[in-house]
């Protein structure tokens, strides 16, 4: 079972803190990888917050391919950071040759473009780079977005942290928001793109569990947005539906829950908003999910949210101390990093709830 987690803080956090949240949750042969998306960056990226940042793991050839591509598209590289890796012998990590984080300026003709146009350009560019790298198997591009960085690798999370010197807490790579997961999706082929958190246009999501409506979700989502691709994991469905409901349809967040786990018809009938809920259920029936799962997501405004399947078959807890809020699969993780918090304020979201941690660290509970 995947354990998932997220941290949101008023202060910059080191990724090591996320590892400390996750490692106590390990059971059995869990923890076969490490992946995180961090947002609202400090450290070496602090000066480039409005510049789209590309997260790459690739070969030398792949790095050159991307460089050429970006150049021809008019992107101007203004910053590059290569994490100083620690190649200790015997580490359990299947490392890629290069990890590269590059911040760019938009092409000249996009400087005055609308935010929406810029966001579409970033998506198109990421998809193109992905296709470019996939063609000759030269690497991976995980995200291309301002103030967002992604790191994914296969292996033991502790060793991955050693390799990337995450335990050193140097202050280079820090952020106020971290979404993290310590297990590759081992029910499927182990590939880096199958590792959550998944990212699209400012939306980040990871999930714990199964989505047995994967096929019907996938078949529908494919036609909704060109960015809905990959589907290496059944958890990507959750992200694409979140992106679709919030960004494309522009519906309030509580309706995400009505889309993925609609109320039974008998319950809808009793509600004053039954017309709206019935229409949502019948129109978006192919985005309904099934199976046991919990999701944790981060939104473009850096809000965090979590919700569960309609039967509450996977755990999740939200808690914090006012300075730092954490959402995670199991309470032991929170106890490790936030032992002093008031546990009476911990929230165990129900099967009909969406819990949101706002940018101001307020906790909102939306009952379906």
């Amino acid at each position: 079972m995947c354990r998932i987690g997220a941290l949101k803080s008023k202060q910059y956090l080191h990724p090591a803190q996320a590892l400390r949240l996750m490692i106590p949750q390990q059971e059995g042969h869990d923890n076969s990888g490490f992946a995180m998306v961090i947002q609202d960056l400090g450290g070496v990226f602090g000066k480039y917050k409005d510049k789209p940042l590309m997260s790459l793991a690739c070969t030398q050839k792949g790095a050159n391919l991307v460089e050429n591509y970006m150049e021809t598209r008019g992107f101007i590289q203004i910053f590059e950071w290569v994490p100083p890796v620690n190649k200790v012998a015997g580490l359990d990590i299947k490392a890629m040759p290069h990890y590269i984080y590059r911040a760019y300026d938009y092409p000249e003709h996009y400087r005055k473009a609308s935010p929406a146009a810029k966001e579409d350009l970033l998506l198109d560019t990421r998809l193109a780079v992905r296709a470019l790298l996939e063609k000759d198997e030269q690497g991976y591009v995980y995200s291309f977005w301002p103030d967002v960085l992604t790191l994914k690798e296969i292996g033991d999370p502790r060793d991955i942290a050693v390799y990337f010197r995450l335990w050193d807490e140097t202050g280079d790579m820090i952020a106020k928001n971290i979404v993290v997961q310590c297990r590759q999706n081992t029910n499927y082929e182990i590939v880096r793109y199958a590792a959550h958190p998944f990212f699209i246009q400012g939306y980040t999501l990871c999930a714990n569990g199964e989505n047995t409506f994967y096929t019907k979700n996938k078949e529908y989502q494919r036609s909704l947005n060109k960015g809905y691709i990959g589907f290496e994991s059944d958890s990507q469905n959750f992200l694409y539906s979140l992106h679709y409901v919030l960004r494309t349809l522009k519906w309030p967040i509580k309706y995400y829950k009505h889309v993925i786990t609609p109320l039974p018809f008998a319950e809808i009938e009793k509600r004053p908003d039954r017309d709206v809920l019935t229409l949502i259920r019948q129109t978006l029936g192919h985005l309904e999910i099934n199976g046991p799962n919990t999701i944790i997501a981060m939104l473009p405004d850096s809000s965090m949210m979590t919700c569960c399947d309609s039967k509450k078959l996977r755990p999740v807890i939200v808690g914090g101390d006012g300075e730092t809020m954490a959402i995670s699969s199991e309470v032991c993780g929170l106890n490790t990093i936030l032992p002093h918090r008031n546990k009476e304020l911990d929230v165990y979201p129900g099967e009909r709830e969406i819990v949101v941690v706002t940018p101001e660290l307020e906790v909102q509970r939306w009952k379906q």
Partner: protein, 544 residues
């Protein structure tokens, strides 16, 4: 010694031979009275017995005339194997036995008349659904559900569903508000009692199905709907509250619509839907056919016609294209009920079904509320045998193709797909329904199995299939008042209700192991097949 006349028809030329046991028979005559086809008769036969009663052989021959039950040998009174004689015989003295060596197909076109019959296709017995099984069982991380305790949403849409971007919502604070009217969509049970008309069925049989429909809705929480078939409906029902459970069918003959239209001002509720019948799986390209033998006085009254063969045209006169059908028929039927009642269309499965479905999906008025595809294993009350046996299209791949065509356009679910034709043919309609739903159907419709539940003994091996004759031995497909009384309405309705309650359990028993609490529409990943060709065609997993 008699001369052999090879062209004479003998009992051995017929599909069924009567096995009559002289020694068990009391000559009560029940079997002769029960045989609606007059295939048997009481007759006298000359018997010759040689006996010897003394100590020494002293043979003496005695001739006597004895009464017997005898099968008639001509083609005018062929035994159809219905077995009513056996059912009625108190002594188990008589039964029909299938005669594999019969020559009936060569004998029954006498007078140059094509063979007509009821029933189903009797040649294409191959059932793809039986080669497909539910192979994706949830275990470990995605637990199966408990079918006994879990609550399931077993409902399907009937009506036109909008695309997300077409929903008339505005955001008001944290809420969505509906700002305009949307097409009517009814969420009903994913199984519809299919279109068998009053006329094709006896009034009693039709009433039994209507009774079961009402009972399932009112008492069993199974919101099943019944389609009237082309032939109108009793006016009393049209004006009653129970109309809400009925889908009124209109076909090319428009039979019964005079009365329906006249009843409209008096309707106290809307019908569940309107179904435009374009074609029928059992006899695609043919219109409805009600032989004069079945056009009794009450049928003449309901349909407003004289006693004659009632042939619906093979197509709707005046409609030349799909667009025209949508613009005229769909629109006028929608308008007739002030756009409150969903209007769907039923076509025979055909090599062209996907084109029709694609076209309907582009309906700009949002008034096509369902696409019913009827496969070749659907039944009929009367058709030319050549149509029944040699025309049609299997429904399974066609439903799948339509669904995938919609998937390609991101329009799956917009016009609900309903599949019929042979559902429950091997007895388990729930399994058939489940598999079709996984392949993309929203629901299924059943017909033949309903009358089988009422007592119809017809099958796909040529048994009975005499629905067209007006002589139905079970009182289901006849208007003969004497025969109709053979059917007990309450018992018939009870059988349908029992079957449906079990169907509901069985459907849940299939939903539970794949971990679904709502219908798995399009969950093709739940199915596997051991037939590679089927796997390729349906795009499901091959297993061996």
């Amino acid at each position: 010694m008699e001369t052999v006349r090879t062209q004479d028809v003998s009992v051995n030329d017929l599909p069924w031979k009567i096995d009559w046991r002289d020694e068990r028979c009391t000559m009560c005559g029940s079997c002769v009275a029960a045989c609606t086809f007059t295939a048997i008769e009481a007759a006298m036969e000359r018997r010759s017995v040689t006996i010897s009663t003394g100590h020494q052989p002293e043979p003496a021959q005695r001739h006597s005339a004895v009464p017997v039950i005898r099968q008639r040998s001509g083609t005018a009174h062929i035994c159809v194997g219905c077995g009513m004689c056996e059912k009625v015989c108190p002594n188990k003295a008589i039964r029909p036995v299938r005669n594999e060596d019969n020559r009936v197909n060569l004998l029954t076109r006498a007078g140059g008349v094509a063979i007509k019959r009821g029933g189903r296709n009797n040649i294409m017995a191959d059932r793809v659904l039986d080669k497909v099984i539910v192979g994706r069982i949830s275990q470990m991380t995605d637990p199966s559900l408990d079918s006994e305790r879990h609550t399931f949403d077993v409902l399907a849409p009937f009506g036109r569903v909008l695309l997300p971007g077409e929903l008339p919502f505005t955001v008001n604070g944290d809420n969505l508000e509906l700002t305009a009217k949307t097409p009517p969509v009814h969420w009903i049970y994913p199984l519809i009692f299919s279109d068998m008309s009053v006329g094709a069925l006896s009034t009693r049989a039709w009433e039994a199905i209507a009774l079961a429909t009402a009972y399932l809705n009112e008492k069993c929480n199974i919101p099943v709907r019944m389609s009237s078939g082309e032939g109108g409906m009793p006016v009393k029902l049209l004006k009653s509250e129970y109309l809400k459970y009925m889908i009124i069918q209109i076909a090319s003959g428009h039979f019964g619509w005079n009365r329906i239209i006249k009843a409209m001002p008096h309707m106290v509720t809307d019908p569940a839907g309107i179904l435009i019948k374009i074609g029928q799986g059992a006899k695609p390209g043919d219109g409805g056919l009600l032989p004069a033998a079945k056009v009794a006085e009450h049928i003449q009254a309901i349909r407003g016609v004289p006693k004659a063969d009632l042939l619906s045209p093979p197509n709707h006169q005046g409609l030349y294209s799909i667009e025209e059908s949508v613009q005229k028929m769909h629109m006028s039927l929608n308008a007739a009920f002030k756009f409150r009642v969903p209007v769907a269309i039923k076509c025979a499965a055909s090599a062209t079904s996907v084109s029709v479905y694609n076209n309907l999906l582009r309906d700009p008025y949002y008034i096509c509320g369902g696409f019913f595809i009827d496969g070749l294993q659907g039944g009929t009350g009367a058709a030319n045998e050549v149509s029944l046996d040699h025309t049609g299209h299997p429904v399974v791949s066609k439903v799948r193709e339509c669904y995938l065509a919609a998937v390609k356009q991101g329009r799956q679910g917009q016009i609900p797909l309903w599949a019929g034709g042979g559902i429950g043919m091997t007895g388990n309609a729930a399994a058939d329904a489940f598999k079709l739903i996984c392949l993309g159907a929203n629901g299924v419709f059943i017909g033949k199995i309903l009358i089988q539940l009422l007592g119809c003994v017809g099958n796909e091996r040529g048994r009975c299939n005499a629905c067209n004759t007006g002589l139905c031995p079970t009182g289901i497909c006849t208007q003969d008042p004497r025969l109709v009384k053979r059917l007990d309405i309450d018992k018939g309705a009870q059988a349908i209700v029992d079957y449906m309650v079990a169907f509901d359990q069985e459907l849940k028993k299939l939903m539970a192991p794949i971990g679904n609490s709502s219908l798995p529409v399009g969950r093709s990943d739940a199915l596997v097949t051991t037939d590679k060709a089927v796997a390729d065609k349906l795009a499901i997993q091959y297993a061996c």
